[in-house]
Amino acid sequence: MRFTIFQESRKGSRKVNQDRIAYTYSRDTLLLVVADGMGGHAGGEIAAQIAARLFIERFQQEAKPVLKSPLKFLQDSMLRAHAALGSYANQFSMLETPRTTCVACVVQAGHAYWAHVGDSRLYLYRQGGIIGQTKDHSKVQYLVDQGIIGADEVAMHPDRNKIFSCLGGLVDPVIDLGKRTPLRNGDVIVMCSDGLWSVLSKEEMSTWLTSTPILKTAPQMMAEAEKRGGSEGDNLSAIVVRWGPETLTDEPSTTITETLGLGQFETQIDRTLTLTDRKGAQRDLSDDEIEHAIAEIQATIQRYRR
């Protein structure tokens, strides 16, 4: 496989980043995940983290070297992440289950497959136009479908944050699966949290990303989006993949997976958690977190040693 990949998550003006993005690929299969945790306390962040990790871990167990059925993998992983959040809440007697949205995409044998829950989105562009996209599980999307409001009113609508399907919710998630879509060189996949799509229309994203080298323009796009979010700006995250060899720039930016050995994976996932949410999630520490905190304190001691 050949592709160029960009990923970035920004806090916006929030104290904590509850978005998580991750990707991993083997020689023949690529997995992308965006999760946007919900709710106060540390819950949202933990939820997004658990979902992203679960996808990555399951992928590495199942992509040997390819997934038998990408759509089934996506659906199962969503359900397992949902169950994992429930048992996590149980284990730590949390009053509220941590919840998250999730959009995940698999590319295998030249085809894209995706699934989503909630309002994190996927757009698939070909030559600047949209050829595939997810449809939010949100109240406003319902209003659009009913013809009550226009699509352009979604981003500004006061209820735009109300979603009816998520992982970790009281009811089982509604999972939408995107149909198997063959990719052509130059196609661009964008996956993002609502912090991005609510300030940047899909047409604008197309302008930023489809006819330019993404490693150059995607960071600029993120900076612009964060600026637009202003002092109220939500966390914003994106993974952008341009399929095929990079033809728009001479810079060596194309990932070539053929160099990976069989059974080998390349993974990108942020493992840090903000442990000290000021409101204090009612949760004790795991051994991992203790080790992590100690390592962090020791590093700080070293850094400030004179």
């Binding site: 442990l275 004790d284 905190a293 100690i294 304190i297 001691i301």
Partner: protein, 312 residues
């Protein structure tokens, strides 16, 4: 007799430190004097909340129930907060953290050992009142340390004479950042934060969203008050109901400069907005009015100039 946690015995080898003796036992921890492998003294704080009985013998900390373990681990966060806060601060008037590690199923913080005694002990030992010169000296230095703390966006939240250590040369060290446990505002009765009556500001009782530098400023004012009175001012929660606190200006007029007395009263205002809003503002107030109508020597003048430049 109530069962209590066992301290580590003398000569106990804790990693590369050898325990000498227990110095103190508090609500969340035991502090030991120990020696490092070079034989230099250090102070080691062991996380061991006294409300949870966790070690009745030996060295390993064991929670007797699952619930105990949860509370123990939960409170550990606060201990980490203290470590995190202190690790960032390298200032002569703030206790220095040298190491932080895990052992015996709990966590330890190693600090530079300071020789001297707490301001609390100093107040209790003295028969006569503390001189204005000493009060100024201690608090001007302490405020330098506190300013550094605030610069790092941290609040101490437990400033009181027991947490101000006086080195043998008279310079102060700010101790015990255990209350930088801002995280511990949730209702876990077993590990509830203990605000010290008399020194805690009113917003610490009722309005945790309004904490700020002025909250520590209240603690500084109360500590200065205690230096003069040898007892703490009326607790802030009681003052809100019925304020019996007599102003420092009234009590000690003539014995101390108006400036110091006014500063104390200013720091002790119940309304956070009416207090000095920053340590800098407070330092400026203490410094601005000349202490005595004494002729300045050349040295005094020079020293003052230097101070004001350093402080600005």
């Amino acid at each position: 007799m109530a069962v209590t946690n066992q301290a580590l015995p003398g000569a106990y080898q804790l990693l590369n430190y050898r325990i000498d003796r227990q110095i103190s036992r508090g609500g969340f921890s035991i502090v030991y004097r120990a020696f490092d492998e070079m034989g230099a003294p250090v102070a080691i704080k062991e996380y061991l909340p006294s409300s949870l009985v966790l070690r009745t013998e030996g060295d390993i900390v064991r929670a007797s129930t699952a619930e105990n373990l949860t509370s123990f681990r939960y409170g550990m966060k606060c201990f980490f907060e203290e470590g995190r806060a202190l690790a960032k601060i390298n200032h002569p008037n703030v206790v220095r953290v040298l190491n932080f590690f895990r052992a015996n199923e709990t966590v330890y913080m190693v600090m530079r050992y300071e020789r001297g005694r707490t301001l609390q002990q100093q107040i209790q030992m003295r028969q006569d009142q503390m001189s204005e010169r000493l009060v100024r000296h201690v608090f001007m230095h302490l405020l330098n340390g506190l300013r550094e703390v605030h610069t790092h966006k941290l609040l101490h939240l437990d400033i009181k004479p027991a947490n101000i250590y006086l080195r043998t040369d008279g310079t102060p060290v700010l101790l015990d950042f255990g209350a930088a446990r801002q995280t511990l505002t949730t209702n876990r009765p077993k590990l509830a934060p203990m605000y010290t009556p008399g020194f805690a500001a009113p917003e610490q009782y009722r309005d945790p969203d309004r904490l700020g530098p002025w909250t520590d400023v209240y603690g500084v004012g109360a500590s200065m008050f205690a230096c003069l009175a040898a007892f703490a001012p009326q607790a802030a929660d009681a003052r809100i109901q019925e304020d019996h606190l007599v102003s420092a200006k009234k009590i000690w007029s003539g014995q101390y400069s108006d400036n110091v007395l006014e500063v104390i009263d200013w720091c002790l205002r119940l309304d956070p907005l009416e207090r000095p809003q920053s340590v800098f503002a407070l330092q400026k107030a203490i410094r601005d009015i000349p202490p005595k109508k004494r002729k300045l020597t050349f040295f005094d003048a020079l020293k003052r100039k230097l101070f004001s430049e350093l402080g600005a």
